[in-house]
């Protein structure tokens, strides 16, 4: 398994789609590795197919059915055009370059199709695929052209086009391959136009070697026939052909095995055996194995192409749901396999396991509002490396759930991390996991920004549940301002600040919960019955019980010890009014309203 080192020299850095299915107006940045996430039917597949329609290997035709249809429209207005613009930049291992280097394959290929920015005169290539209604022909027509400029996003229709047209020759070296979720090595082996066949059609044997092999095959055929009475018998009868078909001389023979190398390719198969098991052809393995095999075949194909291509190949693969049919363990592994495919890659995934391996900056979040798709990405412009590392770690820690959550609750520390899910489960009668709610500790009040930014970027509803001291409040204000929310926490319906300058432990150390918390502390601390009595006595003698509770809960190392039992104890109280501390209830009520969830517990009168 080798990875070619030579860089293709280009990268497709952006795609813009207008009026293609639900993609009414979508701009999306592309990196070397891009990960599309979002709910089902949010437009991920449409985006991949738009790319395929624009520059795919064996492009499909864009038809009337692909044109965006708005809510309430019964048919497509004739003046609505599908536009798919691809922006390409010269790159090397280090990143994007200002100009194509001298002697670049792409300069020769595209010639003056390469444009230069009006301000910097830097090189770029923009290829527009446009599908429009042709009145003369009374049908939809698709044409491809180089753009002279990369226009503003809101007026791309007016972009100037180059006089020369884009032909198949211009696109072939950067052809885009789309492996949809249904991919299957079995189809690969059968389909004459598959990567498999492209790869093996020229096995590279010398003529002499082929001669030798074919001779051996001939011998083997003869041996089989000679050893088989049935086949000898059939062959004898077939020789009567000469009496009906007037041919001078000849020889009818049965060939149990293909006699020519070129025919042998047709029956080529892959066999695979796990330890201590019998060898099976791949086509008889399960879907998961077959799916991986298909991916690996593509990897082999694109490696091979790259190795033999003299710099003129940009491999661009889109892989839909690489996790399909795979065990979670395998889902984690498949990511590395894909990373090893040379060139530019783009995957769509619903798998937290797959997603958790990728870098947060590579995600594109798809969401459908009504009939139109919106695509967003994390704005990392004011995040530092530490912030990004933090998010990546949290994505990994939550096994990717952070990205796929229906709602995110952010808070400072460990007590909340353990306590809030317990309250939540009591509140809704099912685990927050199954509701798609993730509770994320941001590790100190300074840690909110990257997570809030992430949630906002991906349009995931988010909530802050914060301690009420001065410093946290000041930082939260700052964070809110940075992401464009009202600066004052109280003006944000999704920000909940513990009152009276208290932290969470202090908040719980309330007169109402005094007894039950002391009870829980004793339960946790006690080693035997006698000890319980001693502890009870000790607490009874305590003059400021609330202060003592707060001290005990906040002691170093104690937070994790008490958080779970305390939360469980409180939420199991019989008095409905007491089961949830008021601010926790407020938070959950707000979430219930926003997310349309029904709590199992009615609010107290």
């Amino acid at each position: 398994m080798t990875t070619p080192s030579s860089h293709s020299g280009i990268q497709i850095t952006e795609v813009r789609v207008r009026n293609y299915r639900s993609l009414k107006s979508v701009d999306m940045q592309l990196g070397p590795f891009t990960v599309l996430i979002g709910e089902n039917n949010s437009g991920k597949t449409s985006l991949l197919e738009a790319l395929f329609a624009a520059i795919g290997a064996g492009r499909r035709v864009i038809t009337q059915d692909d044109v965006f249809l708005d809510n309430g429209e019964s048919k497509v207005p004739k003046d609505r055009e599908v536009l798919i613009d691809i922006l390409i930049h010269p790159v090397n291992e280090e990143g994007i370059l200002g100009t194509f280097p001298e002697g670049s394959f792409w300069v020769e290929l595209w010639g003056s199709g390469i444009a230069q920015y009006h301000d910097t005169d830097n090189d770029f290539v923009a290829i527009r695929t446009r599908t429009f209604w042709n009145h003369g022909k009374a049908e939809y027509v698709t044409e491809r052209r180089f753009l002279k400029e990369w226009p503003d996003s809101d007026s791309i229709e007016n972009a100037q086009v180059q006089t020369s047209q884009v032909t198949a020759r211009h696109l072939e070296p950067m052809a885009f391959y789309l492996m949809d979720a249904k991919r299957d090595i079995h189809d690969e082996l059968q389909n004459r136009s598959s990567f498999w066949h492209k790869l093996i059609s020229e096995p590279g044997l010398s003529d002499q070697k082929i001669g030798e092999i074919e001779e051996t095959l001939s011998k083997l055929n003869q041996e089989i026939i000679d050893g088989s009475d049935v086949l000898t018998h059939v062959q004898g009868h077939l020789n009567d052909l000469y009496q009906t078909v007037s041919a001078n001389k000849g020889d009818v023979s049965i060939t149990p095995l293909a006699r020519h190398m070129r025919d042998l390719n047709r029956g080529m198969d892959i066999s695979f055996c796990t330890r201590d098991a019998q060898t099976f052809p791949l086509s008889r393995h399960g879907m998961g194995t077959r799916s991986i095999a298909a991916i690996l075949t593509f990897r082999a194909y694109s490696n091979w192409r790259q190795m033999n291509a003299d710099g003129g190949i940009h491999s661009f693969l889109a892989l839909e749901e690489p996790e399909a049919h795979l065990h979670p363990q395998a889902q984690r592994a498949i990511f590395q396999q894909i990373e090893a495919i040379p060139g530019q890659r783009i995957i769509s995934t619903h798998s937290p396991y797959v997603a958790s391996r990728a870098d947060i900056g590579n995600f594109r979040h798809f969401k459908k509002n009504g009939s139109t798709t919106h695509v967003t990405q994390l704005d990392v412009s004011d995040l530092n490396k530490d912030d990004i590392r933090k998010i990546n770690r949290m994505v990994l820690n939550t096994r990717g759930e952070l990205l796929f959550a229906r709602a995110l609750v952010f808070f400072e520390g460990e007590t909340e991390e353990q306590a809030l899910p317990i309250f939540a489960e009591q509140f809704w009668g099912q685990s927050p996991c199954s509701l798609g709610i993730s509770f994320i500790p941001v590790e100190g009040y300074k840690g909110y920004l990257p997570f809030v930014r992430l949630a906002k970027s991906f349009e995931i509803p988010w909530y802050i549940f914060s301690d009420g001291e001065e410093d946290p409040i000041r930082w939260i204000s700052r964070t809110l301002k940075k992401v464009g929310n009202p600066e004052e926490p109280e003006n944000n319906h999704n920000v909940f600040i513990i009152p009276d300058n208290k932290n969470f432990e202090g908040y719980l150390a309330d007169e109402k919960y005094k007894d039950i918390i002391i009870e829980t502390i004793i339960e946790v601390q006690s080693v035997n019955e006698n000890h319980i009595d001693a502890l009870k006595q000790q607490w009874a003698n305590e003059t400021d019980k609330l202060a003592a509770i707060k001290t005990e809960l906040s002691k170093a190392g104690n937070k994790t010890k008490y958080a779970t039992p305390v939360a469980a104890a409180i939420s199991n109280m019989d008095d409905i009014a007491l089961k949830f501390p008021p601010l926790v209830r407020e938070l959950f009520d707000q979430m219930a309203a926003d997310l349309d969830l029904t709590p199992t517990h009615e609010a107290p009168e």
């Binding site: 100009t99 280097p101 020769e108 230069q116 005169d121 100037q160 047209q165 020759r169």
Partner: protein, 618 residues
Amino acid sequence: MKLSEKQQKIVAHGEGALLVEAGPGSGKTRVLTERIRRLINESDGHFRVLALTFTNKAANEMKERLEEFQEIHSRAFIGTLHSFCAEVLANRGKPVGIDGMPNLFENFQDRKQVLQQAMLDDPELRHELLGKGDPKEQNKALFNWLESISTAKTDLKLPETLDDSLIAKIYAAYDDGLRASNAVDYDDLLLFTYRLFTERPKIANFYRRLYRYICVDEAQDLNEAQYRVIQALCGDTFKNVMFVGDPRQAIFQWNGAHPKYLDFFARDFKAKKIVLNENYRSSRAIVEAARLLDPGYEVESEYPIPGDIRLLVAEDEHDEAKRIVEYLSDLLDNGHDDIEGPVTLGGCAILGRNRYVFSAIEEALSRQDWDFYKHLSTQHNSESDLLRDFELCLRLKANPRDRLHLEVLLKRWEMEDLTILNTSYDNSRELFQAVSENIRKQDARDVLKAIENLGQEEHNIKFSLALNMLKEIAEKIDDENGRALILQDIKEWSRAWDHFLRSERGGEHRLASFLGHIALGATQQPRQDGLALLTIHSAKGLEFDVVVVMGMMEGVFPDYRAKGADLEEEKRNFFVAVTRSKRLLCLSYAKSRVMPWGSSRRQDPSRFLEQIGLTSEV
């Protein structure tokens, strides 16, 4: 034929600047073509080749020779410097104000009208123009001013840098007039490209990365602007340039060209020099005549065929024509020892110093019923009114802001409606709509119908459909001559369209590109059928078995206006004429001829005859 050692050296030349001084018949075109073939086939890496020719004929011939490369377009740009500039401006012209394919005003008449209108619109310039006197004097003045503007542009000067404030103002007014019609002239192509390359060096840099090798043919006829554009393209570091030229054949100095640019090139690019002085084309007689004209002309190896030079002395131009026809008839009937196989009309050419010497021979050839073609100018002109109108409409469809041709059209259609002229139309559909509402003549209606047949698809005009429509109209015309004229025009247009379709890659059929293609002369064919009647300037780069140079009289050749250095150029003209011949050369003159004002005048034989050893006493 195998390449000679020197030829091989040029073909094998790789990096660095190279100046090739190539005498007549030294296999210049072949060497150029072979070098491009070798670069494309054998050089490593990814690049294209830029091959700049002097004429479109030469470009087309080179493309034909390289037709084994199916995608020659994607490996090389082969064309004139003007077409290269047009393409650069079409793709990158925005910084200098050119958006898309530039609309070219290539005709002198158009340019004159632009200037005239511009001057009449300005009180001071109006006074200046009207002060010149009667219309004839005004015309003369306009001509001179246009020359001055052209000279300034060729020197890459903008109006504000001229010393003569009147010329500067006229120049500026003229440019404004062109821009008002969203048009540029020929000289602008170079000037704008020069500005683009110098003001935006990264754009020049892009073209250097695109074209790793640049070849310039007929480099002795470069002018200041052309040389500077090439220099600006190359910048300080790019040296892979090959100039091929022959100072002995420099015949465009009257037009601002100068062979000194060969020396500039050698100096500026530190070019290596190779002299190709074999002559594989001409017989001994021709080479000897050429050597008599220019003693410095050295030929290394000579062709073993003797060849022949003949002088025909006639009483007057009709007699001259008669004798030439007899001379050629004899060759056609009996052949010649020095020419393998039969002599064909296609292998013969009649050359003249100017195009006025041909009238008698044209008549004689028509009577003889021989096929012949004239290639006297590079302009494509419709003769019939119908096609002239059609052409005007084509221009307006491609460039609805073209006020000049709109005015001409409205005048021709007797509908000088100022509201149409003074409205600015964003698209041609609105313009034609407005025109058709006021139309009075049936012809005009027909033309507009044909224009409608072009369709609304900008990238894919239905030109044949429109021509067919005009053809139907023509066939209904009773007047035989009128009909013939239209059909001949249609044939010419459809030939041009056919050529455009073949040369345009990627199925792009844009009207503006087509008109640009014609304006740049790209539809000129390397060769046509029959006997060629050529001016010496348009015979450049061609060769024939038999060449007749007629009108060898003092005043005609050399031209009566030529003095001093111009006389030297006249001599080089004759050198070029003589060396067009591969085998036989025939020179003719008439002892008297009818002058333009109608009276007959006695003529003296050209001094050149004596210089190549021919006495007039035959």
